[in-house]
């Protein structure tokens, strides 16, 4: 199982979650689509594309929920012939993240949701508080930060 993260406090809870829930893959991302961490088997997918699509799907579901139910839908589940995905937000002191979980017949939606609740609690407890306001997404050092994050995630030099 591959584990890579740009935020070290995420690694232990996310690894445990993938193990416990018998998930194939878990991706933690910012609502903007920026990858924060990945754990599991990622060879078959392009992580950055998956995160961008997940962020878009999460935003769409949230807006749909606000229009239909007065508030954003939180959990989203898609089922395919062999693989399924579950996506839901995680609220921490550092802000909201989205967790995308891919699983197959070795697990079930019930198990994934159950362990996702534990992951949410563990991440909320582990998140160090923000010491300063988060920089805007397109700050001057955006490219440098992006490259550093990609290097951490994909082992690029």
């Amino acid at each position: 199982m591959k584990v890579a993260t740009v935020e070290p406090w995420v690694e232990a809870p996310l690894t445990r979650y993938v193990d416990d829930a018998r998930a194939r893959l878990a991706l933690l991302l910012h609502p903007s689509g920026q990858v924060v961490a990945q754990a599991g088997f990622t060879r078959a997918i392009d992580v950055m594309t998956a995160c961008a699509l997940a962020a878009a799907a999460h935003a769409t579901a949230g807006e749909l929920g606000r229009r239909l139910d007065g508030r954003a839908f939180r959990g989203l589940h898609y089922s395919g012939p062999a693989k399924q995905l579950y996506m839901a937000p995680v609220d921490t002191a550092r802000g909201a993240y989205i967790c995308l979980t891919v699983f197959d017949q070795a697990s079930s939606l019930g198990l994934v949701r159950m362990y996702f609740d534990e992951l949410s609690r563990e991440l909320a407890a582990a998140a160090p508080p923000l010491t300063s306001m988060r920089e805007p997404a397109l700050a001057l050092d955006f490219e440098r930060e992006l490259n550093a994050n990609l290097s951490a995630l994909f082992g690029r030099s």
Binding site: G110, R113, M114
Partner: protein, 125 residues
């Protein structure tokens, strides 16, 4: 009220039964349940469905046929489960994806629970 109400109530009436649930085996989600106040039905459903599926697959891999009844005894309680897994015959599909799960006290009469559970399984489509 659901089509499972009477089935679940008959199971919950048994002495020592804390909860009874109808669970989807593939999803691990609750279809209907009778729970005591404060019980985490979703957790029981997810774990019991996973347990039942693994038992069914193990029995099949060992060429022992289908699982009729599953019992897990733990220090502070026991879980019993039974289902009729979906399979195809020349006449069509038999069984369902549903599993009936009972959570009982350690001192509960398993014989009676088993009998009620197997009777209840017959009501599943």
């Amino acid at each position: 009220m659901s089509v499972f109400t009477s089935t679940l109530e008959a199971l919950t009436r048994q002495r020592g039964v804390r909860a009874s649930l109808i669970v989807s085996e593939s999803d691990g989600l609750i279809i209907d349940a009778r729970l005591r106040y404060g019980q985490d039905g979703e957790r029981v459903a997810a774990l019991a469905a996973s347990l039942y599926r693994k038992a069914r697959l193990s029995a099949s891999a060992a060429r022992l046929g289908s699982v009729a009844f599953l019992q897990l005894d733990a220090e502070r309680g026991r879980i019993c489960a039974a289902g009729r897994p979906l399979h195809w015959t020349p006449d069509g599909a038999i069984g369902s994806d549903l599993v009936i799960v009972v959570v009982a006290d350690p001192a509960a009469n398993v014989g009676l629970i088993r009998m009620e559970l197997l009777k209840a399984v017959e009501t599943l489509a």
